[in-house]
């Protein structure tokens, strides 16, 4: 279908300010991605998958400014032994990063252009597969124009997690990062991500998990109120492999997190979870697409949103079960806790099932604070505001518990508590 004039113009306006980086081995993939993008055009508010989230801020030629929030809180994941890789406004910062060396894995930068690299054959490939049946133009834009990113090949299980830290230093920064992760059979890798990154952040992560491999991603998206972000995770899972991702989002006028998972080997497990809290001018969108294309795989989607003072939460979650994906166990839950009447939650759960021996369940709810529980806590002397915060944490617990590592669960809860106490009205 030919693009409308509006889309053509918007896409041209955005592309005018971008140029294809020196690609080396990735040059071909970048050109292909640009062609994909030009064919589909950037998202528009009339698009089916952009009905609830206005893409204007994400596609505009220039990003809106975002003030930088400073705090004396300890940095995220500070107490954990991890390998730090720091980007400031999307630019790699060697000074504050650790050496990109860890036994069992290789780490390269996308910007270190070579002619040959193992990531050739993955870069942009999972993204391209993820364009069907739902177009994700911002991911194609990312593949074409990403200025940097990290390429991790985990042949074995490393001794510690990789922490990608995204600092924000310039109020008008526009960052595009693209990571590729390849996990070999039997290896297990954990990636931690945190930080506001830029005034506008477009990030893509492609993960190829071989038979028996495991990838865990735990990320937080803070805290600069005016920041905007579009992120994509594309994961392809082999036989008996595991992919688990959790995201905590607080603040941000606009966040769109897409997650596209393909279960291609039997007995694979994919869990994707998210918790977000928004106060006021906050729009948060989780768009998830899980494809079951093998036998006896399990997928879970658990999303919880706490919204107040006019904040908006969106969930678009799909489970597609292909004809041969028998014994599929699919689960999806999206829930919002609306702390006042001005906030809203828009949910679009979708199931599309072509196999006949399948267990798939889904649910979506919107509710207020449980008055009985609130009274119970208050009757024990807990002040109203603190009792409400405890119930917010109680509501988020199901999503946070999706994180396997208890120390990471604690870290996330600590952040959630800190946010709540900053936003508490006594």
């Amino acid at each position: 279908m030919a693009l409308t004039q509006v889309k053509q113009d918007a896409t041209a306006a955005r592309l005018a300010g971008l140029s294809l980086p020196e690609g080396g081995w990735s040059a071909g993939a970048r050109k292909d991605a640009l062609a994909r993008l030009q064919a589909m055009g950037l998202p528009h508010a009339r698009d089916e998958y952009w009905k609830y989230t206005k893409p204007a801020g994400l596609v505009a030629a220039e990003p809106a400014k975002a003030a930088i929030f400073t705090t004396d809180e300890a940095p995220m994941f500070d107490g954990l032994d991890r390998l730090k890789i720091v980007f400031v406004d999307g630019v790699f910062d060697a000074e504050t990063s650790d050496d990109l060396a860890l036994e069992g894995i290789t780490i390269d930068r996308l910007a270190d252009v070579k002619d040959i690299h193992w990531a050739n054959g993955l870069y942009g490939v999972l993204e391209a597969r993820g364009q069907d049946p739902v177009e994700r133009p911002l991911a194609a834009l990312n593949t074409a124009f990403a200025t940097d990113g990290i390429l991790i090949h985990a042949a074995k299980t490393p001794s510690k997690p990789i922490n990608l830290i995204y600092r924000h230093g310039d109020e008008s920064s526009d960052a595009i990062l693209h990571h590729v992760v390849k996990v070999d059979s039997g290896a297990s890798l954990t990636i931690l991500e945190n930080g506001p990154a830029a005034a506008r952040f477009n990030k893509c992560l492609e993960a190829d998990i071989a038979d028996g491999g495991a990838l865990h991603v735990v990320r937080t998206q803070g805290r600069d109120h005016e920041r905007q972000a579009a992120t994509h995770m594309f994961a392809r899972l082999g036989k008996e492999s595991v992919f688990k991702a959790f995201t905590l989002t607080v603040n941000g006028v606009l966040t769109r997190n897409e997650c596209v998972i393909e279960l291609t080997g039997d007995d694979a497990v994919a869990h994707v979870a998210g918790a977000c809290m928004g106060d006021g001018d906050f729009h948060h969108d989780d768009t998830v697409f899980v494809t079951h294309d093998a036998v006896n795989c399990e997928s879970r989607q658990v999303f919880k949103k706490v919204l107040r003072n006019g904040a908006t939460g969106v969930f678009q979650g799909k489970i597609l079960v292909k004809p041969d994906a028998q014994k599929t166990d699919g689960y999806q839950i999206s829930q919002s806790l609306l702390l006042d009447e001005d906030s809203q939650f828009l949910a679009k759960p979708e199931l599309e099932i072509y196999a006949d021996d399948v267990a798939c369940s889904h649910g979506s709810t919107s509710g207020a604070i449980d008055e009985d529980a609130l009274f119970y806590l208050r009757s024990r002397g807990v002040p109203h505001a603190i009792a409400q915060d405890l119930l917010v944490l109680s509501f988020l617990a199901e999503a946070v518990e999706e994180i396997e590592d208890e120390a990471l669960q604690e870290e996330i809860l600590t952040r959630a508590e800190a946010w709540l106490s900053r936003h508490r009205k006594d």
């Binding site: 449980d370 806590l377 208050r378 603190i386 405890l390 119930l391 109680s394 509501f395 946070v400």
Partner: protein, 251 residues
Amino acid sequence: MLEIKNLHVQLEEEDKQILKGVDLTVEAGKVHAIMGPNGSGKSTLSYVLSGKDGYEVTDGEATLAGEDLLDMEPEERAAAGLFLAFQYPVEIPGVGNMTFLRTAVNAQRKARGEEEMSAADFLKLVRSKAKELKIDADMLKRPVNVGFSGGEKKRNEILQMAMLEPKMCILDETDSGLDVDAMKLVSEGVNALRDEGRGFLVITHYQRLLDHIKPDVVHIMAAGRIVKTGGPELALEVEQNGYADILAEIA
């Protein structure tokens, strides 16, 4: 300790009078029991005293150690020394029992201008109190009341009572859903808290709880009023003859 005078209460949502002039005084050091048929207003009385939403006091007053209860928020009433052991304790997934207890203890201390209890002191205290109630470490770690049996929930209520050391304890049908052994355990927990500075109001349908928690005074409540007051023998009378005789006698 607790003084209730001519208390009239109706439901906020509908024009229905539940309490029609309750007069009741519970002295420090005493255990009062309230018995009465279903719908007589026993649970409403406990909710109104502890400050639950949905009730409107149309007349009368209630004071705790001279302080006006009805004017306070629920948390202020708790800090002033009132404790309600719920008939149906609420499950709160995702909030650890210990976190809950510690938050409550320290919130009350803070409200009273006392120093907060250190983590170590708190842990020591909660462990010893829990042991007496046969509450194991696992129950303390689990989310508040989630997956607890009926007996465990009621023991957990008594543990909270023991930790918060209230001046005035109201037990709302604490015996409901308990087997004989659990009732004994819960009663022992309550009896251990009996103290000359503390008053108890035990709401129950059945005499058998009062075999374990021996009351000083027994009241019969019917149609929103205390209709008869007597000693422990009044509870036995109810057990043998039901409420019909007493109600007929008053009518």
